[in-house]
């Protein structure tokens, strides 16, 4: 049975080709992370089975190997998620500086648990984020790839309120 049902966009293909140039020709699978990141970016922040299959096909990988990668890395999503992705570090430095309170505040404010998205599709609280390497500024969080440090509840409100 064959079921590659969609084609990758021209832009995605160009981006993957850019990464493929960095690896030996028989190591195309090395570009899988870059490819998934690009494809996810073009698809409202999450991967569909069809997109993962298309990446597998493009890179000549077994589909299952792409699924494994997608399920492993926390920056890859396999279900629809909110527009703004919020990752709160709860690792040791941030935890000692009150990260758990920030998590509670966010969950209360947005009315969702970590791992969930708000019903209006605006926010997504990521599950189980590991250290984001900003220990000096803990507690910290990342919203759409931007770091915010030395957080307080008020500061969190301010950050989120600015988002459309």
């Amino acid at each position: 049975m064959n079921d590659i049902t969609i084609q990758l966009s021209q832009h995605a293909r160009a981006e993957i080709e850019h990464w493929l140039k960095k690896y030996p020709p028989n190591r195309k699978r090395s570009a899988v992370l870059a490819a998934l990141r690009e494809v996810q970016h073009e698809n409202q922040g999450y991967l569909t089975t069809e997109l993962m299959d298309a990446v597998a096909d493009y890179l000549g990988m077994p589909k299952i190997a792409v699924y494994e990668v997608a399920s492993f890395y926390s920056m890859l999503e396999t279900k629809p998620v909110g527009r703004h992705s919020i990752s709160i570090c709860t690792n040791i430095s941030c935890m000692l500086r009150g990260a758990d309170d920030i998590v509670s505040h966010l969950e209360r404010k947005l009315g969702i648990k970590t791992g969930e998205s708000t019903s209006d599709g605006k926010f997504y609280l990521k599950q189980e984020e590991e250290c984001l390497a900003a220990c000096c500024g803990g507690p910290m969080l990342m919203v759409d790839h931007v770091y915010h440090e030395n957080l307080t509840n008020a500061r969190v409100d301010e950050i989120l309120d600015k988002l459309d």
């Binding site: 064959n2 699924y67 399920s71 492993f72």
Partner: protein, 918 residues
């Protein structure tokens, strides 16, 4: 395990192991070395033959001078290394790991799923008691697959199943997903196994050390009390199996390390054995009730007792043979014919053809080889003097380029396909040429999805390129071939530029493939029915043979020609003469010298000098009133022949038909006498696989009720036909085959019993047999291979305005041929229960139909209704269907037009119209 030739040339490595000196072979791991010296190091994620993964850490050893312990499965010794597997530090680590793993088991005790858990074995051996650690949260079981039970509560995440699925079978379904404590074994996207793309080969079950993956319905929960080494009854790959029995009942099957399968099996071989216990089994002879006339209508199995009455063996055999005798005496030998079966053993096939030739007095004996590779064999005999393959399938490991053409090996030769996929993964160039994009294409460097029916021009264009670019092997052509000038002249007409629009493959690709094939150190070609089942099937095969001769890509390891045989014994049945034009070993019936030889061997002075009729010709001869009586053993022409309405009408017209089978098959419905026969595990005999391996199938169980072994039935029939035969044992027949078939003359029954399988040709007792043949010329009169050029002819029935689609048939993974066995196997039928036809999604859209809808398929000869399946691997304008469904028999549609040389019907191409059924 892969052979490591370097082991025998490089020096041994001296090391000290637990205080004693021992020698390791180069490349051998510490664990393998210890094992070879009889020292047991506990291990779980390591399995012989699999890539060592080193993830379970149970096999830890201490190495002097190293800070940390080392996993012995993943370390090779160096000279002077001092290794300890039994000192306190190593043992403490081993026991701790076992304790941690055991704490994950349900109830922290032994595996509740398997009586032979390797974890339990090692835990007991090292005295690991109740774990001190808390238990993990346990996952639910997944019982969605009819063949395999998934109980991840016993999973230790050793990934042996992942390696079985991905590296050994290369089905790429099982994954190790998520991370941290969420990490788990998944199928596709963590789907239920039953709805995943799993093909249920069960290799993961065979690999699992704890019973987390087991045969469904607790089939292997009890320990077998007996094991019988045998062979798989399905396809030509010839996998060796073990029947595992408890109280004389087969409870499960596992793969044995045979030369053709290296312990691997597919879904049919592993799970398709239970047809032998189906309630439909015939358990006594049946005779047609008087007054119950035959009609063309197919009888269903529920109508058996309405049309037939039970009879004793004596009565049934007397009626069966008596009427055949009468027809022979009244109308002459040519009024009789016999169909044997490629499912039967060499001994059965040999006796059956001997019965027809010496008892009936005619050469009208044939079997399903006619429907399968007859054209390939015709071409091979004509050009290189032998119908056998040049190299075994596993030779792909030695090849550089592998062409697979007209073969959906993943479905039809699944275990052979695993070796092709392994080779592709190992970097060999796989070239798949087929109108259908199968799963094998995913592994191909080049995939040529050409238009159906255009094989000859496409292959000619490859040869055109080779000649034009001077890539032919002049030395080989000079030394080993004849007729090159004629070939050159023909292929000159087929430039890739000219052929490209005909076959749908770009000229550049055609040229590149030609260059890759010609230039490689070793190129091998595999082909299937996609080549043979055309009216130009012989031409197709001639082109492939010419390609090999032209480039000298034959006669060495890893290079040659391999027509993948369909049935488990189609090679053997043909070898021992179950075909109308040849006695055993392809010796012509029309050669008086040969006839005299057999007249002596068989003590039959009046052998028929004329070649007999083939399968389709016999059907025509019945319609013409020439053939009036038939003996059919194990063949099912009422399902397998092309243009079934025509074939069934013929069967109904016979004055007398004797059918010997294990079920009330579609053909048996037209019988006068039905003789209940034995299934594969109920008898002993030899079977010749596609690689020319003659392998021993051993009896595991008794036939049910009053069913009898086929050899007994043939002997009883022979007695009543007036033949005075004496074969006390199966091996007595085998010994006569050795005399009749020189290529098997060096085989002994005793050696077969010991070694399970021997390679043909084997001329002198004690010889190893010839794995690769044609190493120095060919068994033709001139010792040369002959180029037979072929020109493009189109299929017999082309699509037109009224019948615009191309209809093509084949098999599907779960079902065997006409389905009489596999549709009565619980697991196989549960996976594929309904008649399905595959369409390109674009064609379905045109019909405004969706997958799952019922579609009517109609040709000039018949119409059927099947459930639509969307498959982008099928080209637009093509419909594919398997011929195993009696309720929607694909052969009602097919065209009986024949290849003039092989007499094979054109199953792969006819014109149909399709419509959605509302």
């Amino acid at each position: 395990m892969a052979a490591r030739p370097e082991q025998f040339t490089a020096p041994m490595i001296q090391l000290t192991f637990n205080g004693t000196t021992m020698e390791a072979r180069p490349g051998e791991t510490i664990l393998e070395c210890a094992k070879r010296h009889g020292i047991a190091i506990p291990h779980l994620c390591y399995k012989p033959g699999y890539r060592a993964d080193g993830n379970c850490r149970v096999c830890m050893v201490e190495i002097d001078g190293e800070r940390v312990l080392a996993p012995s499965c993943s370390r090779t010794p160096s000279v002077g290394m001092k290794v300890h597997s039994d000192n306190p530090r190593a043992v403490k680590a081993q026991k701790l790991i076992l304790e941690l793993l055991k704490s994950d088991m349900p109830g922290q005790g032994g595996s509740p799923h398997s009586p032979v858990s390797e974890l339990d074995h090692w835990a007991a051996k090292l005295g690991v008691g109740k774990p001190r650690f808390p238990q993990r949260q346990q996952p639910q079981s997944d019982l969605s697959n009819p063949a395999i039970a998934v109980n991840l509560d016993a999973c230790i995440q050793c990934t042996r199943c992942v390696r079985a699925c991905r590296e050994e079978q290369v089905n790429d379904v099982i994954g190790y997903a998520y991370r941290g404590k969420h990490a788990k074994i998944v199928f596709d996207l963590d789907d239920a196994m039953g709805s995943s793309t799993c093909v249920s080969c069960g290799e993961c079950v065979q690999a699992c050390p704890t019973g987390a993956l087991m045969p469904a319905r607790l089939a292997a929960k009890v320990l077998p009390d007996r094991q019988v080494a045998s062979v798989c009854p399905y396809c030509g790959v010839g996998c060796q199996i073990n029947y595992n029995l408890k109280d004389n009942r087969i409870i499960f099957v596992n793969g044995r390390d045979g030369p053709a399968n290296q312990s691997r099996l597919c879904v049919k071989g592993r799970y398709g054995f239970d047809y032998v216990y189906h309630p439909d089994r015939l358990t006594n002879p049946w005779v047609r009730k008087s007054g119950m006339a035959k009609t063309e209508r197919l009888l269903s199995s529920s109508e058996l007792t309405q049309y037939f009455r039970p009879a004793t063996w004596d009565e049934a055999l007397d009626v069966a043979a008596g009427k055949l005798n009468q027809i022979r005496d009244d109308h002459g030998p040519k009024a009789l014919a016999g169909f044997g079966s490629a499912k039967g053993s060499n001994e059965e096939a040999y006796l059956f053809q001997k019965l027809v030739r010496t008892g009936f007095g005619t050469n009208n004996v044939d079997h399903c080889t006619r429907l399968c590779h007859a054209s390939s064999v015709a071409a091979l005999l004509e050009t290189i003097g032998s119908g056998a393959v040049s190299n075994p399938v596993v030779d792909v490991a030695e090849a550089e380029v592998i062409i697979v053409i007209g073969s959906r090996a993943c479905e039809n030769h699944p275990v052979a396909a695993t070796f092709m996929k392994n080779a592709a993964k190992a970097g060999k160039i796989l070239i798949v040429i087929d109108p259908y994009r199968s799963d094998l294409a995913r592994h191909a460097r080049y995939f040529l999805q050409f238009r159906p029916d255009t094989d000859v021009p496409m292959l000619n264009s490859l040869m055109h390129t080779i000649v034009k670019e001077n890539l032919q092997n002049d030395t080989y052509i000079e030394k080993h071939t004849e007729g090159y000038a004629a070939l050159k002249q023909t292929v000159a007409k087929y430039s890739p530029e000219k052929v490209a629009p005909i076959c749908g493959i770009s000229a550049e690709t055609l040229k590149e493939v030609a260059r890759v094939y010609a230039r490689s150190r070793a190129s091998i070609i595999f082909w299937g029915m996609g080549i043979s089942q055309h009216i130009h099937g012989t031409d197709n095969a001639r082109c492939l043979i010419s390609l090999a001769l032209l480039t000298g890509q034959i006669g060495r390891p890893g290079t040659g020609l391999h027509p993948l045989r369909g049935q488990n014994n189609v090679q053997g049945a043909s070898d021992v003469g179950l075909i109308p034009m040849f006695y055993p070993n392809y010796q012509s019936v029309s050669d008086p010298q040969i006839r005299d030889k057999f007249a002596v061997l068989w003590q039959a002075p009046n052998l028929d000098a004329a070649r007999g009729l083939t399968v389709v010709e016999i059907i025509h001869a019945i319609h013409d009133g020439v053939i009036k009586g038939m003996y059919i053993m194990g063949e099912n022409p009422a399902m397998s022949d092309p243009n079934l309405n025509h074939a069934r009408a013929a069967l109904a017209k016979l004055e007398h038909l004797v059918v010997q089978d294990i079920f009330f098959t579609e053909t048996a419905g037209y019988a006068d006498v039905i003789l209940p026969a034995s299934a594969f595990p109920e008898k002993t005999g030899t079977f010749t696989n596609t690689d020319r391996l003659v392998q021993l199938g051993r009896q595991a169980i008794e036939p049910p009720g009053d069913a009898r072994q086929d050899l007994w039935i043939i002997l009883e029939m022979a007695k009543r036909i007036g033949l005075n035969w004496n074969y006390p044992e199966v091996k007595d027949i085998f010994n006569e085959i050795r005399q009749a078939t020189p290529s098997m003359s060096g085989m002994t029954w005793e050696r077969l019993e010991q070694e399970h399988s021997l390679t043909m040709p084997l001329l002198k007792e004690g010889d190893p047999g010839e794995r690769v043949i044609f190493t120095d010329g060919f068994p033709t009169k001139t010792r040369r291979g002959k180029f037979v050029p072929a020109d493009y002819i189109a299929a017999d029935e082309l699509p037109d305005a009224e019948y615009p689609y191309v209809f093509t048939t084949g098999r599907q993974l779960e079902h065997w041929h006409t389905g009489s066995m596999t549709r009565r196997s619980e697991v196989l039928n549960a996976i594929e229960p309904d008649p399905v036809a595959s369409f390109n999604p674009l064609d379905l859209a045109k019909l405004e139909a969706r997958p799952g809808d019922t579609i009517q398929i109609q040709s000039k000869r018949g119409a059927i209704k099947a459930i639509a399946r969307a498959d982008t691997g099928v080209q637009p304008g093509v419909v594919f269907m398997a011929f195993c469904y009696h309720e929607a028999a694909a052969n009602l549609i097919t065209n009986e037009a024949m290849d003039p040389f092989g007499k094979i019907p054109e199953y792969k191409y006819c014109a149909v119209k399709i419509s959605a059924v509302t």
